[in-house]
């Protein structure tokens, strides 16, 4: 016993080459010196700080007047401050700064989620009763005036009126805009990817497509109205049988195309670029012409991405209000004719029901209809977004297994 003790002492003097290595000596004391772990805080520190700041936050907010928003604000501020102070006292300044910024980043994320949930909650909670009103989807606003709404609000009669005409208008206008912009957008991206060789024209097109994505929607609407007005003016002076007023569905579709084309170009261009060059080269090597290669090889490979991009573009323009408001106006009844007369789209319907309630003094029924229509619109847009994701993942070209 005393001999081993003796050996150990001599070994520690002699260094690691000595025979002491065979003894039960814990190497972790060298590999993990305590100085690196001593500055760590126990795992429950965060929870404790949160509890303390929630408590003080509640106290402070009840000093003013207790509500949850104020409580949240005070708790968040206190949590960031206290955890900074604790870390600074226990560890060091650098770790404390790190902790503070980490907390702020998490806080930013929570703040960003608040409006999302608030919007979705408010639309669903107010919109569902209106949506469950019988005939909401199947009737239009024909014959709905101040007195019917007054009866609904004062005597509890069912809220009449619906969004059929708005659904029809949205469908027609959006489909027409899609038919205009998908060919143009697709051909442009084919030009950019397959034909242009980085020349001045292609760079100009790329740049201006990017610029076009930023055109305010109301300006697109003004353009549609002005262009159609000019066209009809020229046509009428030539004696062609054209309608005299430019406010109609097709004008709105043209205005929406201005907004839609750049989106289609951007997404399809990206999709065409990721088609592997080997596929094109293999096709050329078989003697296939370029245009056949594009139609039969490139586009089928990228079709899932293109379809997803087009769906996203539709989702973007179906929620646009301003361009349709200034180009197609608003009516209370169904209009299936794109080339004659005013037309209501769903977003415009929502806007009008809020801004100019059917009965100015009894606006509750109008608001109920508007919220229900907003719920329908959100469901459509989210559904389109979801569809795009599903298309993009399910029909994506196989990456392996060649």
């Amino acid at each position: 016993m005393s001999q081993t003790q003796q050996q150990l002492t001599s070994a520690s003097v002699e260094g690691p080459a000595g025979p002491a290595r065979q003894n039960d000596f814990d190497p972790s004391s060298i590999l993990r010196p305590t100085s690196l772990t001593q500055n760590r805080m126990p795992w429950w520190t965060g929870l404790a700080v949160l509890a303390v700041s929630a408590l003080f936050g509640a106290a402070l907010s009840s000093l003013i007047s207790f509500n949850f928003a104020l409580w949240f604000v005070f708790t968040a501020v206190l949590y960031v401050m206290i955890s900074y102070a604790v870390t600074r006292a226990k560890v060091n300044r650098r770790q404390a700064r790190d902790k503070m910024w980490k907390n702020l980043v998490y806080l930013a994320f929570i703040i960003a989620l608040l409006p999302l949930f608030s919007v979705i909650w408010s639309v669903t909670s107010i919109g569902i009763p209106g949506l469950l009103e019988p005939g909401f989807l199947a009737s239009d606003m024909q014959g709905i005036d101040g007195t019917t709404d007054q009866r609904s609000q004062e005597e509890g009669a069912p809220v009449l009126g619906g969004i059929r005409h708005a659904l029809v208008g949205s469908l027609l206008i959006t489909l027409t805009a899609t038919f205009i912009s998908v060919p143009i957008g697709l051909m442009t991206s084919i030009y950019l990817v397959e034909y242009a060789r980085g020349g001045k024209l292609s760079r100009a097109i790329t740049f201006f497509v990017d610029v076009m994505t930023g055109i305010p929607s109301i300006v697109a609407g003004l353009f549609g109205a002005a262009a159609m007005g000019w066209f009809l003016g020229v046509g009428n002076s030539l004696g062609l049988p054209l309608p005299s007023r430019s406010t109609m569905g097709i004008t709105a579709a043209i205005a929406l195309s201005v907004l839609m084309i750049p989106v289609v170009v951007r997404t399809t261009e990206e999709m065409l670029r990721v088609v592997p060059n080997e596929l094109r080269e293999a096709s050329y090597a078989l003697g296939v012409r370029k245009w056949r290669t594009i139609l039969k090889v490139v586009i089928p490979t990228a079709i899932s991405g293109i379809a997803a991009g087009v769906t996203l573009a539709i989702a973007r323009v179906i929620g646009e209000t301003a361009p349709i408001l200034v180009t197609a106006g608003f009516v209370v009844s169904n209009n299936w004719n794109l080339f004659q007369g005013w037309m209501t789209a769903l977003p415009v319907y929502i806007f009008r029901q809020f801004q100019n309630p059917t009965s100015p003094n009894f606006s509750d029924p109008s608001h109920q209809r508007a919220w229900a229509a907003a719920l329908v619109l959100i469901i459509i847009v989210m559904g389109l977004n979801l569809t795009a994701r599903i298309i993009a993942t399910i029909f994506a070209p196989k990456k392996t297994g060649r």
């Binding site: 084919i190 305010p216 300006v219 012409r289 370029k290 989702a315 209000t321 508007a370």
Partner: protein, 332 residues
Amino acid sequence: MTSPGESHSPAKATEPSNRQEPSHNALTTSDSGGVMGDRVFSGLALLAGVAILITLAFVAIFLSFNSVGAVYREEEGLILRQFLEYAYPLVIGTLIASLIALVLATPVAVGVALYISHFSPPRLSKSIGYLIDLLAAIPSVVYGAWGMSFLGPALVPVYGWLHQHLGFIPLFAGNPSQTGRTIFTAGVVLGVMILPIITSVCREIFIQTPKLHEEAALALGATRWEMITMAVFPFARAGIISGVMLGLGRALGETMAVALVLSPGLLTASLISSGNSTIPAEIALGFPEAPPGSERQAQLIAIGLVLFVITLIVNMTARWIVNRHKDFSGAN
């Protein structure tokens, strides 16, 4: 004339004929149609590209052409001064609302982008990205309704408090609105709307930070935040700026949210009382009532043109910054 080309050509012509097979080859015989198809197809593609440029030019031309009536009257000649007096409060109102939106949204958006790229659990980060993208999917008219019915009333006590305690600052002077339908509320709604745009641009660029830079910073003992300030931000600076500019472009042109939230009025410095208006809201509220061909319509189209020019400048600057830094940052 004997050139080396000519002397070669008969040999070239005879050589394939020697081993030509007498059958119909489907690949070569139907070729003339293929040449036509190639020409037509590439022509169509070029035409589509040019059509976009022409459309953009037409937007500018039609707007300018139709807005002449706002600055020129036959009896009086140029009335530019009158138009400017009409336009400048709207321009300033638009800038105020967009500025509020930017100031509120930029820090949050950068934080969210950082959260997605560097803080969130890696397996969840993609789904969290989708969640934030949902904010962009909500139509603007729904945001307007939300701001008008929920956010505005919720902010009324805040406005009252601000007026009571900070009323000496001109920004919080004046009668606080009782409905909350003020330019500040509009700015908050705009901030929510541009948040996903700035976030997605920043996220893309944060993710592209070279892993080696990050690991090197961490290996030298930097904390995570020090790594972000030393490796991520310098790399992403141009991307952040362009994301903010794109958000600004969107905020400037956003119509429906402002038209619903704001109860428009004259230009005031106060953010908490009703007043001010923005160009898009003015157009949306006024255009359906303006008779076609009237001076009022020309006036509205003219301020639309002003808005178009402003957003064009903002967007072009953003794109220019991105393109300039493309080589070493990948922000596109």
